[in-house]
Symmetry: C2
Subunit: 651 residues, 2 copies
Amino acid sequence: MLVSALLTSLGINFGLCVLFFTLYSILRKQPFYYDVYVPRLLVEGTSKRRSRFNLERLIPSPGWVRKAWKLSEEELLSLSGLDAVVYMRIITFSLKVFLVAGIIGIFVILPVNCTGDQLEDIDFSDFSNNSLDVFTISNISSGSKRLWVHFSAVYVVTIFIWYLLYYEYKYISSKRIAYFYSSKPQPHQFTVVVRSIPVSVRSSISDSIETFFKEYHPSTYLSHTVVHRTNKLRGLIEIPAAFVSFKTRYGAATAFHLQQSINPTHWVTEQAPEPHDVYWPFFTSTFFRRWISKLVVIVACILLTILFLLPVIFVQGLTNLSQLEVWLPFLESILTITFVSEVVTGYLPSLILQLFLKAVPPIMELLSSIQGYVSHSDIEKSACNKVLWFTIWNIFFATVFSGSVLYQLSLILDPKNIPARLAVAVPAQASFFIAYVVTSGWTSTSSELFRLIPLIGSLITKPCKSTDDELVVPTIPFHRDIPRLSFFGLLGITYFFLAPLILPFLLVYFCLAYIIYRNQFINVYEPKFETAGKFWPIVHNSMIFSLVLMHCIAVGIFTLKKVSLASTLIFPLPILTLLFNEYCRKRFRPIFIAYSAESLIKKDREDQNDATMDEFFHKLVTAYQDPALMPIQFSTNTDSLHSPLIYSDEV
Amino acid sequence: MLVSALLTSLGINFGLCVLFFTLYSILRKQPFYYDVYVPRLLVEGTSKRRSRFNLERLIPSPGWVRKAWKLSEEELLSLSGLDAVVYMRIITFSLKVFLVAGIIGIFVILPVNCTGDQLEDIDFSDFSNNSLDVFTISNISSGSKRLWVHFSAVYVVTIFIWYLLYYEYKYISSKRIAYFYSSKPQPHQFTVVVRSIPVSVRSSISDSIETFFKEYHPSTYLSHTVVHRTNKLRGLIEIPAAFVSFKTRYGAATAFHLQQSINPTHWVTEQAPEPHDVYWPFFTSTFFRRWISKLVVIVACILLTILFLLPVIFVQGLTNLSQLEVWLPFLESILTITFVSEVVTGYLPSLILQLFLKAVPPIMELLSSIQGYVSHSDIEKSACNKVLWFTIWNIFFATVFSGSVLYQLSLILDPKNIPARLAVAVPAQASFFIAYVVTSGWTSTSSELFRLIPLIGSLITKPCKSTDDELVVPTIPFHRDIPRLSFFGLLGITYFFLAPLILPFLLVYFCLAYIIYRNQFINVYEPKFETAGKFWPIVHNSMIFSLVLMHCIAVGIFTLKKVSLASTLIFPLPILTLLFNEYCRKRFRPIFIAYSAESLIKKDREDQNDATMDEFFHKLVTAYQDPALMPIQFSTNTDSLHSPLIYSDEV
């Protein structure tokens, strides 16, 4: 790809961003669009539909940027919960990483690459006609001593990322514990889900539960709610699952951690989700059905991965103009026009990819929802993981190795050649990924601000809606946005020493994300559940993977460039990274699974002298209300929450 | 290999067995050898050293066989504990499997194989000159309808093994629970090991422990014993680990299951072993040292596996006479003698293999002991697993694929070709493994009875020993014997439809083992610890692996023999086997890890009215006595238990 193609792509996207920002700055002030741009404020009543017209409304103003910038972490925490704080910390974490990597990349590695002598010298008279490759490591000749600069950069950045990862895991762990300590008594802290309750002919499920828990948890058992579900054929049915509440958090934790019955498949307990986070269809499916579903989901994921290669191959063809002319000869005349060819190679490929990618998060959420999770937050977490690995595999590896599943499989089956093949293939795709950051990153973030799809949706449905219809405040689709942030992190980490030119574009992306998402948390999104930071370990794992991948590429590159001492000296890095990860798993992971006896007992003791606890326990008894037993109106509302596509309001 | 070579091997081993049995029947009656053959009875005082000589002592008598045969499961349980019962059930399980497989194999598959037309017809006039291959599946021509007999046999035997595995897992689970219910209060049921106790400058470790557990387990905490170890440099040291005892089993279980501290790396709890089962050196090594040890052990296992291929390759050469003649041309004249060549091909290879194999269990136990386990039983279990997989890899796969590590690795890296390669290689080694069963199985079992090595050891050391020296009763080395039984199970399962001739020899082996081990449990071995059946899951896993391996071979064979429909129809079997295994893991595995709340509370309640509990609690306080603080004499005795080689009394 030539510099000019990149500049074209940059121009188009910069234009789009400016357009979206301007339009947003105007439209957000129009009462007609309040439901799109400030639904949260509208529902909370802090924003009233202004009817008086004034000229100021038509002039774009950047006031919202200042407001978003000034928001403190405490305000964000009280506004949108710990998950939003963790989300913003993913962005600040990436900003820190790429600021340091960026300084090293632009001021040290880039000059070294540019003054290399492997490729043609940079033609400063016709700058835009230079190949982007002269800015990459490809421009350094084999055996050159300059490669030790790259080697040092790999070490410095790796150590810096270790430090940041450790610091961040520690910080979020402490936030999680602090959040628990400062939380009011909540039903899910005192409750466990019990499944596979043995059905006996002599007594009802409710009686069995009471007998069992009064027998084995006499001092802490409080109450229970048997789950009922409606069935089209048989009406209301008698399901052997229940929410069992305890008088203390420690009591609930004990019931959850210990195997209850002699038969481990009976009286299976797990932590209860928040009442509004319960995914009720979970209870309808039997054990066997959930098992089959899991198999189906695995097969579906594999199929999706294979089918997705088709658009990727097509996109690959576009970046390679000459091949496209062979495939579609009638395009030859059009493609000779410079601008067209620049759009085709610089912009179109990543746009097409991006459109296909849009469909992945909702599909993955659908798959996760049939897999058998008891809560929406678990579904979201599982979908987040699926989307992340799908993206890494199908965007990174499929693009890098341009091709067929069989070829990719042959790579897995030949592990010792992976570094060498990565070393050849990864730098070759540097320009594609730089364009990808600009297209997919910049545009998706600013269209997140402009809320293009909800805007269109609102314009279409508004005429049909009555004013009485309740406004639904959207939730941020973590399973779409966290994998995206992580994937850009992976691109940055793997490319920073190969093609440091990617770093300024990434920094712009994360800066945009920083402002825009803070603004969206204030105006648009409302938290639907609180996992108290359980998304962080996913990001941590993806960073560890990125580091190890980067080390593999470095080993390959240094071997290819015949600096074998450097490639040998890189070897300790992936091993130390994995050991570091192992340490973090031991040190922090358990905090994200369950609270410790120490915290639970401390919190329980605090409550002992609290007069409001009686009222809380009174409410707790009916907290896990069964939607099937609620009045129709309410039931319908709750049912809409069960749709797995609820969060994907913006496709 | 010819029938005659097998007959030679059979003759030699049969002779050895008869010799060992006869010698045993005589020597066991000589008071001089009581310490070798009935050490257990001697120590228990049920057998007195008879001095009066009579002629009967010199005549071999089979009375011990009747005694061993008549021993009931309840007697064995009270005599040697649940582990011995489980050990005998592994043998009876194998007997049941190979009885059914044997009937099908000998009466259905063998005639089908013999009447095949792929190889030369059996020459009945000179029977011993036939190749053993005519009895195997190799004799069936491609595309033959007869292969459906093998196909059906695979299905029938697989389903029968599923049923038996399920039944056995269920039976042993119930035995384990019954054992727990019937057990007297034991110190380890009420105790947890606490490690990584944060050290503070203001208070001693003992005070910290008391403060912590009185704070968070006020109603159940009983007492604690801080672990002290002697150090050559610094004398007695203050280690941050302790045994903490509770007033109830449920209290101890709660402390073990829940993460105690906010920091998951502090106050780490695990189940306490029985007091005499504690592996004290565990406490001396630091967390970091244990981590490094683990890495070292992994590397050592890999090295051992690679080095072990040298004898295997040598043995391979022996079974292939012509190759041996190329290697060592001067042997040509000797090898032309029929008997010599028969010994070399039929007997020598597996004898050499067996000798090398003898060294593996002690080495693996040594490796396990430095890996960081708190008890001897855990070390034994880990060593058992290591020896099992080492045997499967280095005997089965190395023999089958006759060769280099690289070749084996290339197989792993090319999974879709595994069935095809197995199909070619496995039947080719049938005759070797038949000989292996006879040599390694028969001879090792009868030498187990004869106790060859302890006998020699006793003869050498007896003149130097004073009569005051206490007699040490040996323990059965589970980590040597369970992998052997499992490996013969694997051979039987994988070969039953390929070369059913292996089955009668296996049946004889298991019958011998049945009588001999019962006899040894009565007379020789004394249990040193009680895992209450925790070895069974290892055997279960190895059986599942054997089944899946057999299915892979079947797929390969049917593809090779061009009955592709059969190979397609085999496919559901491995999948169903893995699902079956998954179900067993859910249904039974948790029972082997910890007891359920239900059992613990029931048992605790029984004790409430027991008057002897006060005395028990009084003893419990000092149960975990520190060997470093004991009088020298006792300390030495206990130290000898720590030697990882203690069980390998018979090399």
